[in-house]
């Protein structure tokens, strides 16, 4: 008797619990947004959940990008990946090759108008096999940070930039340098791109060993040699804030760190990267991907959430609160964003400068980039630290990349 009653009670309880769970579609969203950024994510999520009683999105902070990647890989292996996650383009490429993702476009149900509303450069960063596989989320671009006390008018061309750097360094007499160089792949990429070059051509043949690449390294080496630039190994934002360097090229997402370091010490602003043989603005940041392990309901619900995150109002809220960029044209044109730009001339002149969106470019979006990047990184260091000539260093990197590709197969 009592046993039966217990079973009955258990059954009722189970039904009640499962009923509740069934009523809501669970969508997990793994991200790497800490502190204030994470809070903004949580607020947007809470708003979405309130608006959609049948869906429950749970945003989970998974550490920095490296930790998030490790975590994603572990979950993919165990086939318990989240429904949504922030991803870089080269992760996306690797994931797609292994059928881990499904294209978000299939579930977004975008009208042509909505589709074209995503800023072209961001859209192109997210297309694989002709489909918008992932959706741009926290995007930033690289700009020229400068000390307005030393640089009244930011240089528009590379030549102006070089002359100005030299002048500031000469006047600074070893205490102040015109430019700060960190031997990174991204900075090398920036100068090479301005010269008209890139890492690979469209068929992924190596092109960075060409003259544009060599010239880019030589430009950096010459700047260090004639003391127009200081070779630094930490965050450039601190060097700018300390007044050691007058300019650096870096991610607009670092603006809050520049502000923290510079407050009360130097005045600063942002401008587009000066143009060389061609203009160029690298765009960075992650996108949101949908994982194949999700059920149909989850996929639909997830797409709904992604659409919500990137709608005009929210992409602008996100951008204003975090320092990233709106990802849609309607966002960039919105009143709220333009009011924000009017109050923040630095953002208006730098990352928010619409011209840069016209000539935006991005890092290679292939799985093999992770490996290639470290070889090229070594080449940049070797050349800048004079362990090899730019020609030798780049040729060595090309050799390593080809070897690694051969080893992989």
């Amino acid at each position: 008797m009592r046993v039966n009653k217990l079973i009955l009670l258990t059954l009722v309880f189970c039904l009640a619990v499962s009923g509740q769970v069934l009523a809501k579609t669970e969508v997990t969203f793994w991200h790497a947004m800490s502190s204030a950024l994470g809070e903004t994510v949580n607020e947007l999520v809470a708003e979405f959940n309130a608006q959609n009683p049948d869906i429950h999105v749970e945003a989970i902070y998974q550490g920095g990008y490296g930790d998030l990647n490790t975590k994603l890989v572990a979950s993919i292996t165990a086939q318990n990946s989240p429904v949504l996650a922030q991803v870089y383009e080269n992760w996306t490429d690797a994931f797609i090759r292994n059928d881990v993702l499904v294209p978000l476009e299939d579930y977004l149900h975008l009208t042509d108008e909505e589709y074209n509303d995503y800023v072209e450069v961001f859209r192109n960063m997210n297309i694989w096999d002709g489909k918008l596989y992932t959706v741009p989320f926290n995007k930033s671009n690289w700009v020229l940070f400068y000390n307005t006390d030393l640089v009244p008018n930011p240089p528009k061309t590379v030549d102006e930039f070089l002359a100005l750097s030299k002048k500031i360094s000469d006047e600074g007499q070893g205490d102040v340098f015109g430019f700060g160089i960190r031997p990174t792949v991204e900075l090398f990429h920036a100068f090479m791109y301005l010269n008209g070059g890139d890492f690979f051509d469209e068929d992924l043949n190596i092109t960075f060993t060409g003259q544009e690449g060599i010239d880019a390294l030589n430009l950096m080496i010459n700047m260090i040699d004639d003391k127009s630039a200081l070779l630094i190994d930490g965050y450039e934002s601190n060097a700018l804030g300390d007044g050691i360097i007058a300019m650096y090229i870096g991610s607009s997402a670092g603006a809050s760190f520049v502000e923290a370091a510079a407050e009360g010490k130097v005045n600063w602003s942002m401008a587009p990267i000066p143009a060389g043989a061609r203009p160029g603005a690298p765009f960075m940041g992650t996108n949101i991907a949908l994982f194949a392990t999700a059920t149909e309901e989850q996929r639909e619900a997830a797409a709904k959430f992604v659409k919500f995150l990137t709608n005009t109002e929210n992409t602008v809220t996100w951008a204003i609160r975090t320092g990233y960029l709106p990802v849609t044209y309607s966002g960039l044109e919105s009143e709220a964003w333009n009011a924000f730009l009017a109050d923040n001339p630095r953002v208006a002149e730098g990352p928010g400068n619409l011209e840069a969106f016209e000539y935006g470019y991005w890092q290679p979006r292939v799985a093999a980039w992770e490996g290639a990047r470290s070889s090229i990184g070594n080449a940049v260091e070797a050349a800048l630290l004079k362990y090899a000539t730019p020609e030798e260093a780049l040729a060595q990197a090309a050799l390593e990349i080809e070897e690694e590709i051969a080893l992989m197969d």
Partner: protein, 284 residues
């Protein structure tokens, strides 16, 4: 022929020696402490005071509010209580299991002893990075993701502790063991009554190390948990670091309160390191 040193010479030599000793220790201690002191100093600074250019040890104003800001930046109250639960449970179970295993290795002559010991030691030689994924799969299979089980049970045995305790157990004279067993003292009773009390410094060391290891574990915790409810203090420290910059003052403040419990534990335990000395009488 050497003359006997006079009392005065003897005392002078002694003072001189002690002087050198203190000097060496003080310089050494200062070098050891410098990064820590810098950390404390940075934790009280304003962001624009954190500069590489000049060395500034004393902040202009002591910004104690950095500690509150850092505390509120992540759910540290939850993280701390989880860290305490996990570290304490791990430490207690680990000392028990390791003592048993170390006792077997140290005092029993048994079949397969050397092979087993080398097998145990071998597990230390594999980088944890290759075991992470297989262990994650096991945890998923057990349904232990996001539970204390996954954070505690795999860490309740450490070969390090077994090995350290074995070394200490082995240096307790074997005749004592044989005599006790002949007198009808049970093996387990001997462990509890004789071995453990005599190995107090080693036990304290093992406990301290386990507590620290458990307190500082990061990647494992991050991989095995999905909710802030189950996470620990080191996860909170990542909140201040990003790929474009680091909030150094807040990070240092958080690091300071993150390590405080270990400092307290060390101060409580450090007297115990020197209390195993009543041993000399035992040597026959």
């Amino acid at each position: 022929m050497q003359a006997e040193p006079t009392m005065w010479q003897y005392r002078f030599r002694n003072h001189f020696k002690m002087g050198i000793l203190y000097l060496v220790l003080t310089i050494g201690a200062f070098i050891m402490l410098m990064p820590f002191l810098w950390m404390l100093s940075t934790s009280l600074k304003a962001p624009n005071e954190i500069t590489m250019r000049t060395i500034k040890w004393i902040p202009e104003t002591f910004r104690w509010e950095n500690y509150r800001t850092a505390w509120n930046a992540a759910p540290f109250a939850t993280y701390f209580s989880n860290s305490f639960v996990i570290a304490i449970t791990c430490t207690i179970i680990e000392v028990m299991l390791s003592s048993l295993a170390a006792y077997a290795f140290a005092k029993f002559d048994f079949f397969g002893k050397n092979v087993l010991f080398v097998l145990f030691l071998g597990t230390m030689m594999i980088p944890g990075e290759v075991m992470l994924i297989p262990n994650y799969l096991t945890m998923v299979k057990f349904g232990w993701i996001d539970t204390y089980y996954s954070l505690i049970i795999p860490w309740t045995v450490s070969v390090f502790s077994i090995f350290l305790l074995r070394q200490f157990f082995m240096s307790i004279p074997h005749e004592l063991y044989e005599a006790a067993i002949l007198d009808g003292c049970g093996r387990f009773k001997y462990l509890i009554k004789v071995m453990l009390p005599l190995s107090k410094p080693a036990l304290v060391t093992v406990m301290l190390f386990k507590f620290i290891g458990s307190w500082n574990a990061f990647l494992w915790v991050l991989i095995m948990t999905n909710t802030p409810k189950m996470r620990t203090v080191p996860v909170g420290l990542t909140y201040f670091v990003s790929d474009v910059g680091t909030q150094y003052n807040l990070l240092m403040a958080a690091s300071a309160f993150a390590m405080a419990p270990i400092v307290v534990l060390f101060l409580l335990l450090q007297k115990q390191f020197i209390q195993g000395i009543a041993r000399s009488g035992l040597k026959g």
